[in-house]
């Protein structure tokens, strides 16, 4: 109980908890779940965008997109490392993903049928991710907070690139403008769902807030996102697919329509439009690559034996 009190006092004083420090088991478990989920999201998130690397419409866009997806893989790697500092093994985390036990962000279960989706993902999905992640730079667990500093820097770069794609399309031919609007129509609501269920249905939030694993509620972040994004859409000349959206002078924020939470929970359950495809792609890559990983291990063993001999 002393330990808990001391821990909570440190957290309340905005000190970082480090791997060697004592921490409550629930804190450790919550963090492992959240960080590994975040890592999985980066890795699974390579797929919808990776879908367009071979078809990017210009050499410049191809290079930018390839670099972006590479950054996501890098984020995945340092997030896995952060989770490992808590005693989780990477193999276990990956197995849990492939078995459908570990979650990843619902947003990556939506498809990217057109090039405009690459713009929309950068603009909206990375935009929402930044809203979620900026506060995490001050999260209570040190390795996670430090990983987030680097992630956020790159994400905001990605977000600008995505918005730039949308600007180019919105200023382009009628086919391009149509593509941009279609992408906004498909990504808007799933992006709002990225902040998670409404506060009154988010059971873990309270403790996470107390432990400074989270620093804002889902609904606060969602509102912030809407308020930041609506003017950006206006600047593009695109229409947000929400007839109930309007400025609320009194609150100084936008009112927006009801979110279809039924869809969100279905996607969380694994029934998103591309959920099967995403998990199958990750499993296949892992299984097809098993012989490579085994060979690398076997070679490393031989090399060491030879050095020792």
């Amino acid at each position: 109980a002393d330990l808990v009190a001391a821990f909570e006092a440190r957290v309340a004083a905005d000190e970082f908890i480090e791997p060697k420090d004592w921490m409550p088991e629930a804190y450790r478990r919550t963090l492992i779940r959240q960080i590994s989920q975040h890592a999985h999201s980066e890795i699974v998130g390579m797929l919808p965008e990776g879908n367009w690397i071979t078809r990017a419409p210009s050499l410049r866009r191809k290079a930018i997109l390839l670099a972006k997806v590479q950054d996501e893989g890098g984020h995945g790697l340092y997030l896995y490392s952060a989770a490992e500092t808590l005693g989780a093994s990477r193999a276990e985390m990956i197995d849990a993903l492939h078995a459908g036990k570990a979650k990843y962000s619902t947003i990556f279960n939506y498809p990217t049928p057109t090039w405009a989706d690459i713009g929309a993902i950068g603009w909206l999905v990375d935009g929402a991710a930044i809203m979620n992640q900026v506060p995490l730079q001050r999260t209570s667990y040190g390795p996670y907070a430090r990983a987030m500093v680097r992630v956020c820097k790159e994400e905001s770069f990605h977000q600008r690139q995505g918005y730039e794609i949308m600007m180019t399309l919105a200023a382009g031919t009628s086919a391009q403008r149509r593509m941009a609007q279609d992408a906004l129509d498909r990504w808007w609501w799933p992006a709002l769902m990225m902040f998670g269920p409404p506060d009154d249905q988010s059971p873990n939030s309270e403790q996470s807030m107390r432990w400074r694993i989270k620093r804002d509620t889902n609904d606060e972040l969602r509102q912030k996102f809407v308020d930041a994004t609506v003017p950006q859409a206006e600047l593009l000349g695109l229409t947000i697919p929400d007839p109930d959206l309007r400025w609320n002078e009194a609150r100084g924020g936008y009112d927006f329509g009801a979110i279809e939470w039924e869809e969100f929970f279905a996607v969380v359950r694994g029934e998103g439009p591309c959920a099967r495809e995403r998990i199958e792609a990750r499993r296949k890559a892992w299984e097809d690559g098993a012989w490579v990983r085994e060979a690398a291990d076997a070679y490393e063993m031989k090399r060491r034996q030879r050095l020792a001999a």
Binding site: I53, R55, L59, A63, L77, E294, A295, Y299
Partner: protein
């Protein structure tokens, strides 16, 4: 045609050939993205792909500049027909498994590193500058691929079997890299280009040493398969171009 025009056309074709080699292999590598044996390997393949797409972009842009006909690198990449692509056959081969990909990379990066090394002395100062940057990149590529050839060749029984297959699969396309065609001859004469035949000996040496270290034999002789550098391609390039070019071809008036 007067000689200056002939040289300029050869110069453009030369740069396009070099650019296509880099671009097409970069495109192939980018197909791995999200599907590699581990995240680390995924990132290193993306790294190579990015370098190659970058080299391809610079070389095609320079070709367009010399051509001075209103085309740019994107026009060359996305609005050129298969018969006008001048890359060697090796780079357009499908990825196959990771061993085939790495065997292809080892052969090509080793060659390309020697080629760029020689091209740093090109009388085309722009090309020399591109080569000077690229030679560092390809040195890294060749080393990385060489390590995988050794690791897989001397790893498990399965990886050894697969690497032998990978080397044999790609071996048919190696001779094409070292043949000087009419374009090469014109470029050698003007000192814009280099003598490919001279790269064969150092290439063979690196291959022999690396395979020895991997405890693998050189692949058996095979009648060389050639033609890519004259626009006569395998069945694989068309499928690659269909994917790569579909959007720009479908929206010819759009800028991206």
């Amino acid at each position: 045609m007067d000689n200056a025009v002939i040289v300029r056309e050869a110069h453009v074709a030369y740069l396009i050939g070099l650019g296509d080699d880099a671009l097409i292999l970069g495109q192939r590598l980018s197909e791995w993205c999200g599907h590699a044996p581990s995240v680390e390997v995924d990132l290193s393949l993306a790294n190579l792909g990015l370098d190659l797409i970058g080299q391809g972009t610079l070389l095609l842009a320079h070709a367009a500049e010399i051509e001075n006909g209103g085309r740019d690198a994107d026009a060359l990449a996305f609005h050129r027909d298969e018969l006008d692509f001048l890359n060697c056959l090796l780079v357009e081969q499908p990825n196959g498994d990771f061993a085939r990909t790495m065997a292809r990379q080892f052969f090509f990066s080793t060659f390309q590193n020697l080629l760029y090394g020689a091209l740093t002395a090109s009388s085309d100062s722009e090309l020399a500058a591109i080569a000077a940057k690229a030679v560092k990149e390809t040195e890294y590529h060749a080393g990385l691929a060489r390590e995988w050839v050794i690791r897989l060749g001397d790893g498990t029984e399965e990886s050894r079997r697969r690497m032998i297959d990978g080397l044999e699969w790609n071996w048919r396309f190696i001779d094409e890299l070292f043949v000087n065609d009419a374009v090469d001859e014109a470029m050698i004469e003007t000192r814009i280009g280099i003598d490919r035949a001279k790269l064969r000996e150092p290439f063979d040496l690196i291959v022999a040493q690396s395979l020895a270290e991997a405890r693998l034999d050189l692949p058996a002789q095979h009648r060389p398969v050639t033609g890519g550098r004259q626009g006569k391609h395998s069945e694989h390039l068309g499928h690659l171009l269909a994917v790569m070019q579909h959007i720009p071809r479908s929206f010819p008036d759009a800028r991206w």
